[in-house]
């Protein structure tokens, strides 16, 4: 059915209580695929990273990637899950042309990790606990490109191109339990959960989790029930919502759409829906007339996975500090507000600032550069901060030069500009552009003398005790030295020469 009028968000929430389920697929950053030795590098020529196994050729067999299992266990541990002592892979049987075997090797009723939780912090600092149902291992499918149709979907296409480079890349699917009690904050919780999960995955080093590259993909399942009602309503499943903002928008849209359908006295159809980035809406995909029958059964080509307790404890001991705790620690160390920390997080600058501090810069200086000048430059060029052609070492060096008085703020800015323009390291830029502060006392003295001589009225005022008038002379000296003087030192010299106490 089509809903033309969405219910205003506040009105929907006045009547209904949303329940969400989030399914996130993470592509692991292992060097090889889940069940064969093919490379997982992105961007290679189509079908150049394939073998009999990931092409599903007759006779080929899978072998489990040990690093994939290790990553799955670490993700499970970081999500406070129990780790199965013994579990099997299962075949999920369904047909799709980009799935070489026409079954996906996955896990069914024996996931490697289960019963966990992830605490997520909302923008105002409130912590919301999202319960984790399970995390299991599976393989990615190939990629179809449908040619000739208007929508880019298979229907209406004249032909399709299949690239199996992605087929067999390890995936971890992380499924939440129904998220209840978020109320009007449901979309925010959804976004915060995916954001937190992404940070966690990155901190574990198991994937770059870049949503725009498809390394992390989210399905948003949502239903409404009248407030006070216990039983869940019928859900919709919005597939492949692939940015943090989209997760929030998709949840919000579905709340408004469901409310409209329910208000009209109609029933929600259980179906998959497509999310549209351009306007934040969802449209009907495939109607699930009955629960799809995947005919799961244990994968007979693989032996069970039985992570020993010793190994699991070893992995637990080696887990990094969890992102939320780390963020809170850094926020305190840096002495900034929750809101400021959120900005740093949104800009993707936490790691860069930490690295800059590690390279010797004061935290406030590091944060100032990354969140100021560099954030502006990244924004202008539409790139991520981390992709700018300047690294934490460079920024730390600039901070050091400012600290020792070799650069002032203006010169530091020019130095950074030079590094960004590919002129070399900060020291090389300073050298080439001649940006060093003029600290030659003789040269500076002459400039000060000239400024006094050229502005006798002002000099007289200063001698008369109007110390604040010195600013005009400082400006004249700075102009004469093309900004390459240390303003504080210039002021000292002026006052000294005029015999006034600063």
């Amino acid at each position: 059915m089509t809903v033309t009028e969405l219910v205003p968000y506040e009105d929907a929430l006045a009547v209904y209580d949303p329940v969400m389920g989030l399914e996130v697929h993470v592509e692991l950053g292992t060097a090889t695929k889940m069940f064969c030795g093919c490379s997982t590098t992105l961007g290679a020529d189509a079908n150049s990273q394939t073998c009999p196994t990931c092409l599903g050729l007759p006779g080929a067999l899978p072998v489990v990637n040990a690093t994939g299992v290790e990553s799955a266990v670490r993700i499970g541990l970081a999500l406070n899950c129990e780790i199965a002592e013994w579990c099997r892979f299962a075949r999920k049987n369904y047909f799709y042309p980009d799935m070489p075997k026409n079954f996906q090797t996955s896990q069914y009723d024996e996931p490697i990790a289960f019963n966990g939780h992830l605490d997520v912090q909302l923008e105002d600092g409130e912590v919301f606990r999202v319960e984790i149902e399970r995390a299991h291992m599976e393989e990615d499918t190939g990629k179809s490109t449908h040619i000739g149709g208007a929508t880019g979907r298979i229907h209406g296409a004249s032909h399709s191109l299949l690239d199996y480079n992605r087929a067999g890349i390890p995936l971890i699917e992380i499924v939440t339990k129904p998220i209840e009690g978020a109320g009007e904050r449901a979309p925010e919780v959804a976004k915060a959960y995916v954001a937190e999960l992404r940070e966690l995955i990155k901190a574990l080093g198991v994937s770059e989790a870049r949503m725009e590259m498809g390394q992390m993909r989210c399905d948003v399942n949502l239903s409404l029930r009248p407030k006070g009602e216990k039983t869940f309503g019928t859900r919709s499943e919005t597939k492949n919502v692939n940015s943090l903002r989209s997760v929030e928008r998709a949840a919000r849209f579905e709340i408004q759409r469901h409310a409209a359908v329910l208000d009209a006295g109609e029933k929600i159809v259980q179906e998959t829906r497509h999310f549209h980035e351009e306007n934040g809406s969802t449209t009907s995909g495939r109607v699930k007339e009955e629960a799809e029958d995947y005919r799961y059964f244990p994968e007979p080509d693989l032996v069970p996975v039985a992570p020993s307790r010793e190994w699991v404890e070893e992995l637990r001991a080696g887990l990094p500090e969890l992102p939320r705790l780390r963020r809170n620690r850094l926020r305190e160390e840096w002495g900034i507000s929750q809101h400021e920390m959120q900005s740093v997080l949104n800009a993707g600058a936490v790691g860069l600032i930490v690295a800059t501090v590690d390279a010797g810069a004061p935290a406030d200086q590091a944060r100032k550069w990354w969140m100021g000048e560099l954030a502006r430059r990244a924004n202008e060029s539409g790139t991520e901060l981390a992709d700018l052609p300047i690294g934490p070492e460079d920024v730390a060096r600039v901070c050091a030069l400012v600290g020792e008085g070799s650069l002032n703020d203006k010169l530091a800015r020019q130095t950074i500009e030079g590094v960004l323009d590919g002129e070399g390291t900060p020291d090389e830029v300073v050298e080439k552009r001649g940006l060093k502060v003029v600290s030659d006392e003789g040269a500076l003295g002459t400039a000060v003398d000239e400024a006094i001589a050229g502005n006798p009225d002002i000099a007289e005022k200063i001698r008369g005790g109007k110390v604040q008038a010195a600013g005009a002379l400082v400006g004249a000296v700075m102009k004469a030295t093309r900004g390459q003087a240390d303003a504080a030192r210039v002021r000292e010299l002026i006052l000294e020469k005029l015999g006034v106490e600063g």
Partner: protein, 497 residues
């Protein structure tokens, strides 16, 4: 010079090794035999003359250079058309793979090549190894050299026909429910299903992954052991392959001995449906074992009566998933790709034309058995029966060293007799299926001709998992005692083609 095709593999290898004959001469003799008789026998789907001669030449050259060669170097072998062979057609007896040239060798094939065996070609089989007669081959049935109007067993009837017709001294088969042992029994040859995981499945087109097992087919127990030793062993490419030393089957085959051996005769495998002449030969062979110093007693394995039912749920279930990949998208047959059909329609049309009735029947059975709501009742129950069967074996092997039974209830039946009666066909595997379900090791050795029809009878010997050597020790002792009694190998009684 004696007919090179009549030699055993061990004899052939010895003559090649000491320079009496060349591998090329041996290969040519077998290719000539194939030319002479295979039109009648139809053991081969593909004869690979050029490559076979090239491999033989390579062996001769290596020998001339004094290089160390394996114990079967230069000996010809036929390979069931279920193993992938790089650059050589692999059809699995099905139309659906017509025209497919695999880009890689199965591990078994790689091992054969590395050991210097000369691959003559690919042998006929029931489509996807589903059948007991080769009548389900999309390319027509093979004949039994004992009587060309009868079946050579199945699914590996091409392999058993090839060795019993002297077209090859050795062949590779696969055994999911008896596809090596039953053809061996009805052609008077030796066939072994090694312990599950004993031989790599990599490159075997899967029928039922938890049951499929490759193994040797030969005319003598020693030949089977020599071939077994070549193909067995752990393979990193097959997760289910066993990472343990291969039992020393060759030494066992050279030292046949049953003195003090405790033999259990499976009580459940006799009675209604068993041919009198088959039971008679089996009973005589049990008596022979006693004469040779073994103790024999009846052992009951009550769950074995449910093995067939469990098998026909588990195997079709796995096959319904394994065969899903044949969708006309990447390889093999493609029907209806004329721009007027959708991808789904092309898949459906291709499967309609490319799969035979038995394959369709099993895919449907398995799809049903795995579907939600029926899974527990069918697939789940079958797995429980599988566990019970395994326990029956464990209990039996607590009391005896090996179990014996007829390999198959009857001798070779006429082509066409059971073609329209799947249940009758399935009964041919009644005695062999339990070992597949439990994953242990089993062999069929000739034990004479049935009185009624003068056709070969096989005795099945079953040993615990990873005790494959025990089969060869018993098989070799029986073979020697039988031949002493008969005065010649049983196969010499077969009519000449």
């Amino acid at each position: 010079m004696a007919d090179l095709t009549r030699l055993t593999a061990a004899q052939t290898a010895e003559r090649i090794a000491n320079g009496e004959v060349t591998a090329v001469e041996v290969a040519e003799a077998h290719l000539a035999r194939i030319d002479a008789v295979d039109e009648k026998v139809h053991a081969f789907l593909h004869v690979d003359r050029e490559r076979a001669l090239a491999q033989a030449r390579e062996v001769d050259e290596k020998r001339a250079r004094g290089e160390r060669l394996g114990p079967l170097a230069g000996v010809p072998v036929a390979v069931k058309d279920l193993f992938t062979t790089e650059g050589v057609p692999t059809t699995v007896g099905s139309k659906i793979l017509e025209g497919w040239i695999p880009p890689y060798d199965a591990t078994v094939v790689r091992k054969l090549k590395e050991a210097g065996l000369v691959i003559l070609g690919k042998t006929n089989m029931d489509e996807f190894a589903m059948g007991s007669s080769t009548e389900n081959s999309a390319y027509g049935p093979s004949g039994n050299p004992w009587d060309l109007t009868r079946i050579p067993g199945g699914s590996g009837g091409g392999s058993s026909a090839a060795i019993s017709a002297y077209e090859a001294p050795l062949a590779i088969g696969t055994d999911t429910g008896g596809s090596i042992r039953q053809p061996a029994a009805v052609t008077g040859t030796v066939g072994v299903k090694p312990t599950y995981g004993g031989v790599s499945r990599y490159g075997m087109v899967a029928f039922s992954s938890s049951l499929d097992q490759a193994g040797p087919c030969a005319r003598t127990v020693l030949d089977a052991a020599l071939l077994h030793a070549v193909i067995a062993g752990h393979d990193e490419l097959d997760s289910t392959s066993i990472d343990q030393p291969v039992p020393d089957v060759v030494t066992a085959a050279r030292n046949g001995d049953v003195a003090g051996l405790r033999v259990g005769v499976v009580k459940e495998f006799r009675g209604e449906g068993y041919q009198a002449g088959v039971l008679q030969r089996v009973d005589e062979t049990v008596e022979l074992l006693r004469e040779l110093g073994a103790e024999a007693a009846e052992v009951s394995c009550p769950s074995f009566t449910k093995a067939l039912a469990a098998y026909y749920l588990i195997a079709p279930s796995e096959c319904s998933s394994n065969l899903a990949r044949f969708d006309a998208m990447r390889y093999g047959l493609r029907v209806g790709d004329d721009g007027t059909h959708s991808a789904e329609e092309v898949t459906a049309l291709t499967r309609e034309e490319g799969f035979g009735d038995e394959v369709k029947r099993r895919v449907m059975l398995g799809t049903y058995a795995l579907s939600s709501g029926y899974y527990d009742a069918y697939y789940g129950s079958a797995q429980k029966v599988r566990t019970l069967i395994t326990r029956d074996f464990e209990r039996a092997f607590g009391e005896v060293d090996v179990l014996v039974s007829p390999t198959t209830p009857t001798t070779a039946f006429p082509i066409g007799e059971r073609a329209d009666d799947p249940m009758a066909m399935y009964l041919a595997d009644l005695c062999t299926i339990p070992s597949n379900l439990a994953g242990n090791a089993a062999m069929s050795v000739p034990c004479g001709l049935a009185g009624e029809d003068g056709l070969p009878v096989g005795l099945q010997i079953i040993a615990p998992a990873m005790a494959d050597d025990r089969l060869y020790r018993v098989g070799a002792a029986l073979e020697a005692a039988h031949q002493a009694r008969w005065g010649h190998p049983l196969l010499e009684e077969a009519p000449s083609l």
